[in-house]
């Protein structure tokens, strides 16, 4: 694989993304929403006294924050519990970009002229994958850092430590890029079979279901956040799914298949 060719595809894709305001909105908006809701709740608790009756419903979870005041424990519970939803950003955003990219090329019939150059299919796909994944990874990491710092600033500095825990640093460093990669590959594979970006995103949308299920399950399971073991198991599962998606993708994106089926 030749870096210069991958870089050429990456730059072209990046220009495409930057010039597409709707797509940029799809990158930025979910990240801001996932951060704004818990931050708003934390701020609300900070300026208002806690209602002991409401606190009762989450009292069991507060035991996971020993040696801190109840108010801070409640805030800690909220910010850590919502962080599972941050994993939706790398699941949703790259898929939106990848499907838009592949289906856009199908509609414009611009794959053939690219494949008529010395560019290899692997270089084309790597460039597309990087261009789709990097905005999502960057957005997730920026929101994560901002989330930790802002909540620490508006409430209590100890909240920053809850956000930048070992578990979440590992999750952000490993699980987020893996989910991004899987999401892009799934988006590319699904896009090769349909001609409408919305249909592709709906089909590919099943990738977010396990993440939501895990987030809900951890809540009802009495855990405010993941454990390190769960993060590593998650890494292994997503890596296995990437292997499957790569196998399907290498078949779906053979040069001849692209030309005869995707145009």
């Amino acid at each position: 694989m030749r870096p210069g060719y991958v870089a050429a595809v990456f730059v072209k894709e990046w220009r495409d993304i930057v010039s597409n305001r709707l797509l940029l909105g799809a990158v930025i908006f979910p990240a801001l929403v996932f951060a704004a809701i818990p931050t708003g709740l934390v701020a609300f608790i900070q300026v208002n006294d806690l209602d002991p009756q409401q606190l009762g419903t989450i009292r069991d979870y507060l035991n996971d924050f020993p040696n801190v005041p109840e108010k801070l424990a409640a805030q800690g519970f909220i910010i850590t519990n919502f962080m599972a939803y941050f994993l939706l950003i790398p699941a949703m955003v790259p898929m939106a970009i990848a499907t838009q990219s592949v289906i856009g090329e199908k509609v414009a019939r611009s794959l053939e002229p690219q494949l008529a150059t010395p560019l290899e299919v692997s270089e084309l796909l790597t460039g597309k994958t990087l261009a789709a994944a990097l905005p999502a990874i960057t957005a997730t990491w920026l929101v994560y850092v901002g989330y930790g710092l802002i909540n620490g600033a508006i409430a209590d500095p100890r909240l920053t430590r809850f956000v930048f825990s070992d578990v979440w640093l590992v999750a952000m460093g490993t699980l987020v890029p893996l989910i991004c990669l899987f999401s892009v590959l799934l988006g590319i594979v699904v896009s090769s079979r349909v001609n409408d970006p919305r249909t592709a995103q709906q089909i590919g949308g099943f990738v977010v279901i396990p993440i939501i299920a895990v987030a809900v399950a951890q809540f009802f399971g009495g855990e405010p956040t993941f454990t390190l073991t769960q993060v590593w198991i998650g890494n292994l599962l997503v890596a296995a799914l990437i292997g499957v998606a790569l196998a399907i993708g290498s078949w779906a994106f053979d040069r001849e298949t692209i030309l005869t089926r995707l145009g």
């Binding site: 730059v11 414009a108 019939r109 002229p113 290899e120 005869t260």
Partner: protein, 325 residues
Amino acid sequence: MILVDGLHKRFGRVEAVYGMSFAVGDGEIFGLLGPNGAGKTTTVRMLAGLIAPTDGSATVNGHSLGEGSQRIRGLSGILTESPGLHDKLTARQNLAYYGRLYGLRGAPLAAAVERYLGVVGMSEHADRRVSGFSKGMRQKIAIARALLHEPEVIYLDEPTSGLDPSAAKTVRDFVATLRELGRSIVVCTHNLDEAERLCDRIGIMRGTLLRVDTPAALRRHGRAATVRVELNGARGPSSFLDGLASLPFVQGAQPRDTAMLVELADPALETPDLVAHLVAAGARITGVREEAATLEEVYLELVGEAGERDRPTSAASDPATEEAP
């Protein structure tokens, strides 16, 4: 130089192309004429190293299809059936992107982009996004893209499609200059007039090549050329027939109203002698012209005959062979 020997492409059970053999020399423009689904695009895709043939072989400037496909793609320029531009990018960015994919970098890349924007008359639109371009403007950028890296072999699929007559002439003239530079050029077209004006030789195909020849020879379709001699005077055309029978190069003659139709093997060489003989015999000649079938008539006849014959499998029944297999 393109050498094609028994090229064959099957998609599943459908024979899209079979038994294709021809050669295109340096500095030659070779036209591929055929109806939709005839396999023109499939043939070009194979020769441009985009898809692999099922059987047969071909070399492009000494590189064989298969192991040499990446090199072939590097030395080929292809104008695809659809311009296939990137709408969100400007004309300049589109060309620069493809220049990089063909290995150009830095100053040579910038110079090539500027040069070809100028060649197709699009310099003043260079920094506009192509999403706002007309069909003709897109076609011009696609042509520039195909030529940007100075390819040795060029494939043009409907090169003047969507262009106004003036732009179409510019493109035809430019293609002719590429011939002068020694490039091998293959043109796929439905436009018979364009094929006749542009191509040195034409291959009429429907799954396979039905006939390859120069436009003039194709128009004669294997028959002797007929020269029509218009007469004016007291003597009718029948009175000259006996005299014509004594000329060794005349293959046949018959009267038609006030004219006579004379069959010659080589009209360019033999017409002056024919005229001299008739004048010496007292004929008053008002006009002489060669009568030949139009390329359209020959094309329809050949393609129609081929359509009636059985092909290995009907390509028309499979959407995969509809010009984009």
